[in-house]
């Protein structure tokens, strides 16, 4: 034990002399780090889920029935189950607009367990395999061939829900038997919770009468814009020409959601800022008290040869220990909290993308450093005062 007698020993002993005060500081820093971590994760998740979702759809324009803009965003960005319909003839009218290159479309159906289907409420997306460019990139690797009639492929998340992959199951969808032939790659969009079938199946589905879909209806049109055309202008052109539609360009998709979530982010960030300022004051107060309590001890250390730098080291080590333990406590509790929050907060539950391990670790590191940094900032002035304690204090009576 004596081999390890260092300045660090002094710092640890100092912390142990008032365990309650040390504990309160550690908990305070822990809470701060936890909230920084939670907020950073939230902001990061919001940003990445919106960006990836609109990018990954692979379309420049999304055309939906007038008034269904929000519903379409809910489906594509938030994993919600919603349907909306427009006439299929609109596809050709979109094709004819100048600047549009590729066009494909999808039809959305909702399964209702018991009445038509044997899977829980899920969005079923019927798509046209000849023109499709939205699903295919995620499909090719898995299947390596076209989907046949009576076959379905399921999104990454719903695969888990209906246990595909663990056991091969066939499901009844809208009164028809479907063979689940594979799982779509993870897209990080609302597609992850859907089931995909070819549009050929629609005829059979309607024959059984178990869906509210009417003949000749589709839900959404995806379009690509020719090189050299501005997607914004083309979107405007589509809306002007076809009044039955709302058109969003890639960057507009999710704009309302972004704004709402950005407001959340802002409120959270402000709260964390206030918490940080409070923590600085807390550390400042505690270390000012420490400076007063231990002035004579510091004077004695100075009188027997300690330099200012020794004193500074002892006290910074003390702060560092509080900051690090608080940081670790904060990372553990913050991660746990984020995990449960993601399950119970509607707004987080519906975000399709999750954070990568790299993102999680960098957020942890940043939160940890912020917590420790805030400790340091709070202790800066008091430590500066502590190091100026005069050796002369050693010759005075207590």
């Amino acid at each position: 034990m004596f081999r390890e007698f260092t300045l660090f020993t002094l710092a640890l002993r100092n912390l142990r002399r008032k365990p309650f005060r040390t504990g309160v500081l550690i908990i305070a820093i822990g809470l701060l780090v936890a909230s920084i971590l939670f907020v950073l994760s939230f902001v990061r998740r919001v940003d990445s889920s919106i960006k990836t979702a609109s990018d990954r759809l692979g379309a420049d324009l999304l055309i939906v029935p007038t008034g269904s803009r929000g519903a379409a965003e809910d489906v594509l960005l938030e994993n919600k189950v919603k349907t909306f319909f427009m006439d299929k003839s609109i596809v050709d009218r979109v094709k004819n607009i100048e600047g549009i290159s590729d066009v494909t479309y999808q039809t959305y159906l909702v399964t209702i367990v018991g009445s038509c289907c044997d899977v829980p409420e899920t969005l079923v997306i019927a798509f046209n395999q000849d023109t499709d460019f939205v699903i295919k990139p995620w499909l090719s690797k898995e299947l390596g061939r076209r989907l046949n009639k009576g076959e379905a492929i399921v999104g990454h998340e719903s695969a888990f829900n209906i246990k595909i992959g663990l056991t091969e199951v066939d499901s009844v969808l809208f009164g028809n038997m479907f063979k689940m032939v594979g799982v779509l790659d993870k897209t990080g969009t609302g597609l992850d919770t859907a089931i995909f079938i070819d549009e050929e199946n629609i005829e059979d589905i309607m024959k059984k009468g178990k869906s509210d879909l009417k003949p000749g209806q589709i839900s959404a049109i995806f379009a690509r814009v020719e090189k050299g055309y501005d997607p914004y202008l083309v979107a405007g052109e589509v809306e002007d020409t076809i009044v039955e539609t709302d058109t969003m360009s890639r960057r507009d998709i999710g704009k309302d959601l972004i704004n709402t979530l950005r407001d959340f982010s802002r409120i959270f960030s402000m709260t964390v800022m206030l918490a940080s300022i409070l923590s600085v004051f807390l550390v400042w107060t505690v270390f000012s008290a420490i400076a007063n309590e231990r002035s004579r001890e510091v004077g004695i250390m100075r009188a027997i040869g300690a330099k200012e730098s020794h004193i500074v080291k002892i006290y910074f080590l003390e702060v560092l220990v509080i900051g690090s333990i608080g940081g670790i406590v904060g990372i553990i509790s913050g991660t746990t909290f984020s995990f449960f929050a993601a399950k119970s907060f509607m707004i987080l539950k519906d975000l399709s993308s999750d954070l990568t391990v790299l993102e999680r670790s960098s957020i942890s590191v940043v939160s940890f450093l912020s917590g420790t940094g805030i400790c340091m900032v709070g202790a800066l002035l008091p430590i500066n005062r502590i190091k100026k304690m005069e050796p002369l204090l050693a010759i005075k009576e207590e």
């Binding site: 300045l7 250390m301 009188a303 040869g305 300690a306």
Partner: protein
Amino acid sequence: MSQIEIADISKTYAIGDISINAVDNVSLKIDKGDFVSIVGHSGSGKTTLLSIIGGIIGPTSGSVVYDGMDICSLNDDKLSEYRSEKIGFMFQFASLLPILTVKENVILPGLFSKKGLGDNIKKAEQYLDMVGIGDKADAYPSQLSGGQQRRVAIARALINNPEVILADEPTGDLDEETEAEIMDLFKRLNREKRVTFIFITHNLDLARQAQRQVQMKNGLLNEVLL
């Protein structure tokens, strides 16, 4: 050249409008290996003088030259080094750190010294045995009597092998027997290692055991010629 040359030092304290000359124009030369006692009434300036020599406070005027080095002109780091490497100080009042055990208190100066801890642990045990509290090495200062704490402070002052030991009433609360032992220890270190000793005492018998004796009165210093 003497080891310590004190030339015309004064220390003035201002309390409100009144100023006190705690040390008044004192000059003194101390050679390596000198054994000096300081006597004087309470408030005569003994502690102030000893602290100036030890680099703990600076004089208002005058100079203290140690081995040719003017310690009053040293920067804070160099002055700390001077305190750490050259001087062993025993303070008049309790001066142990409550968070450290007796043994840790004794080796503490090593943490601040360029030489580091070295074999201080073994030495600490020896010194603690020597001052008669070897069995208390792992106790905390709060578990010791005032006299026992003073002995720990003595061991601490010796640990860095100082060239000069400045002791402010080192045997104050000690019984006569221990007092004699401590004086024997001082004399032995003085004889064998040529450590310079300057100590303050109220005990005239002790003072007379020194090779040089000085008296202080109202900040003024007088050497008793033997």
